[in-house]
C-alpha cells in the first residue's frame, strides 16, 4: 500500500457533566464505569481521553465502589494520533484526599467512591480523568478470558508462594483469566515491591490492548466485545454509543506509541504504617507531558 492511515477521533470529553455513580451495590463480577463530574472547570484537551483504571479486590457481597483500590493506572488515549500512556500510582501513596485529609490514595475510593478517587489522582497528576473504570479482579479475569488471553513481555522471572508458586519465566509469557490477574497482583516477590507490581499491571494493560488491536478488524469483533462489556457493566449512565467509541479508541492505539511510567517515591512511615511518599514533582511532570498528547518521553 502506498499510504496508510490509522486514526480515530472521538467527541467524548466535552459536556461531561453528569454524576453517574451507580445505584446500589454492584456485583463484584461487574465492571463499573463512571463519568467524572467536570464542573470543576478543568481544562482538558478534548482529543485526549483520560480513564482512571482501578483494580479492586472486592469480595463477594462487597461494593467495589467503596472498597480500597488495589491497582491504580491513569490511562490517556490521544484519539487523533493513536498514542497512549499509563501512569501507575502505587496504592500506598500518601496524598491529600479532598475533604478527608492525607491518607493512602486508595482510601479515597472507600471515603468517596470513584468520583473522589478520580479527583485525588487527578490532583496528584494535574490531569483529571474523564472516566473511572472499576474492575474487580474477577471481572478483569473474565474480560481477559473473553478476549482469549494475552501475552506479556515479562522482564524478570518471579513466583509467589500463595498466588502462583510455579511462577512466570522471563520473556514472552501467555497468561489468561485469573492467572493474568495474579501476574498483576504479586508484590512481595518483586525487588521493588509495589513499584514493580505497578509496572506489571502496565504489562497486562499492554497485553489487553494488543489483543484488542490485533482482532479489531475481524468482522463484528469490536461489536461483540462492546456488547459483552455492556452486559457486565454496572452503570446505565454511559451510553452504548459512548462505550462503542471508547472500545474503538482502545483498538486504534498504536502499540509503538505506548509509553508507561510508574510514579516513584520513597518509603515513609505515618502513624506506624508504611506508606509511599510519592514524588509529587514527577507526578506533575508526567501530567504536564501527557496532557495534550498522551505521551511521556521520559519517566
Amino acid at each position: 500500500m502506498r499510504a496508510t492511515l490509522r486514526t480515530l477521533v472521538l467527541g467524548l470529553v466535552l459536556g461531561l457533566t453528569a454524576l453517574l455513580v451507580p445505584d446500589g451495590a454492584p456485583a463484584p463480577t461487574y465492571l463499573t464505569l463512571v463519568k467524572m463530574d467536570r464542573a470543576a472547570g478543568v481544562d482538558v484537551d478534548p482529543d485526549v481521553v483520560w480513564i482512571l483504571a482501578v483494580g479492586s479486590d472486592a469480595r463477594p457481597g462487597e461494593d467495589p465502589t467503596r472498597t480500597r483500590g488495589d491497582a491504580l493506572q491513569m490511562v490517556g488515549l490521544d484519539t487523533r494520533t493513536g498514542a497512549a500512556t499509563a501512569v501507575g500510582i502505587p496504592r500506598d501513596s500518601w496524598v491529600p484526599i479532598p475533604g478527608v485529609g492525607s491518607n493512602r490514595v486508595n482510601a479515597a475510593l472507600y471515603y468517596g467512591g470513584p468520583q473522589l478517587l478520580g479527583r485525588t489522582v487527578g490532583n496528584l497528576l494535574g490531569v483529571q480523568p474523564d472516566y473511572v473504570m472499576l474492575a474487580p479482579f474477577s471481572a478483569l479475569a473474565n474480560l481477559i478470558s473473553g478476549i482469549g488471553g494475552i501475552t506479556v513481555d515479562n522482564p524478570r522471572a518471579f513466583a509467589d508462594q500463595d498466588l502462583h508458586p510455579r511462577g512466570w519465566p522471563a520473556g514472552k509469557v501467555r497468561i489468561n483469566g485469573m492467572k493474568a490477574v495474579e501476574f498483576a497482583r504479586v508484590r512481595k516477590a518483586l525487588p521493588r515491591g509495589d513499584f514493580d507490581r505497578s509496572a506489571n499491571q502496565q504489562l497486562v494493560l499492554r497485553g489487553i490492548q494488543q489483543k484488542i488491536a490485533s482482532k479489531a478488524d475481524r468482522p463484528g469483533w469490536i461489536e461483540k466485545q462492546t456488547l459483552s462489556v455492556l452486559r457486565h457493566l454496572n452503570t446505565d449512565g454511559v451510553s452504548p454509543r459512548e462505550l462503542f467509541r471508547i472500545a474503538q479508541a482502545v483498538a486504534q492505539v498504536d502499540p509503538a506509541k505506548i509509553t508507561t511510567c510508574v510514579l516513584q517515591g520513597s518509603i515513609g512511615n505515618v502513624g506506624g504504617a508504611s506508606v509511599v511518599l510519592p514524588d509529587t514533582a514527577a507526578a506533575k511532570r508526567y501530567g504536564d507531558a501527557a496532557r495534550e498528547d498522551a505521551t511521556i518521553e521520559r519517566c
Binding site: L5, G11, D217, T226, R245
Partner: protein, 171 residues
C-alpha cells in the same frame, strides 16, 4: 447474511445502492451483535451505506480536474473531517485531483457490522473496498480499503473514526 431491503436513503432493495453512482455499491449486512431485529438492521445497513456512498462519491468520484473535496466528509464529525482533510492522499483524490482528467470508480462494496442495544443500533463498522481508475496527470488504478466507524445521532449516522489504506491495485 447478504443484501438489504427497506426504504433507505438511496432506495436500496437488493444489496445494490441505486443512487447516481456509475457503479452500484454492493452493500452487505455483516455481523449483527446484540438486540436488533432484521428490519432495524436492514434500515441501519441502508443508512450507513448512504453515508459511505457520500464519502466515496465525494472523495473519489466526480468531475476533474478539481481541488475541492470538503463535501466528501459532510457526514463525518468535525474532528474526523479535519483529520480526513489532512490525509489528502488517502481519504480522497485531493492530492492529485488538480491534475486528473478523469477518475472512474470501477467497484465499490461495503459490509456493515452492527451493535444493537435494546432494539436500536448503537454503533457500526463499515468495511469498505473501492477501486478507482485515475487518468490524466496520474495514470493508475488505486484500491481503497479499510473501515469507517460510525455511531447514530439525532441527525443520522456520523463517521467518528476511520482506518483506511490506499494503494495501487495488486501492490
Amino acid at each position: 447474511m447478504a443484501g438489504c431491503s427497506g426504504d433507505g436513503a438511496d432506495g436500496e432493495r437488493d444489496g445494490r445502492s441505486r443512487g447516481e453512482h456509475a457503479v452500484e455499491t454492493e452493500a452487505v449486512l455483516g455481523k449483527v451483535r446484540g438486540a436488533l431485529d432484521d428490519a432495524s438492521a436492514q434500515q441501519a445497513l441502508a443508512d450507513v451505506t448512504a453515508v459511505v456512498d457520500g464519502w466515496i462519491d465525494g472523495g473519489y468520484g466526480g468531475d476533474y480536474p478539481r481541488t475541492g473535496f470538503d463535501e466528501a466528509f459532510s457526514s463525518f464529525t468535525a474532528d474526523a473531517r479535519e483529520l480526513a482533510l489532512g490525509q489528502p492522499g488517502v481519504m480522497s483524490n485531493a492530492e492529485v485531483g488538480g491534475s486528473l482528467e478523469r477518475a472512474e470508480i470501477t467497484s465499490r462494496s461495503v459490509t456493515v457490522d452492527l451493535l444493537g442495544v435494546e432494539g436500536r443500533p448503537a454503533g457500526a463498522t463499515a468495511h469498505v473496498l473501492v477501486t478507482v481508475d485515475l487518468a490524466g496527470g496520474v495514470d493508475r488504478t488505486d484500491e481503497v480499503r479499510g473501515r469507517l466507524l460510525l455511531t447514530p445521532g439525532k441527525d443520522g449516522w456520523r463517521v467518528f473514526g476511520f482506518d483506511v489504506r490506499r494503494g495501487e491495485e495488486g501492490a
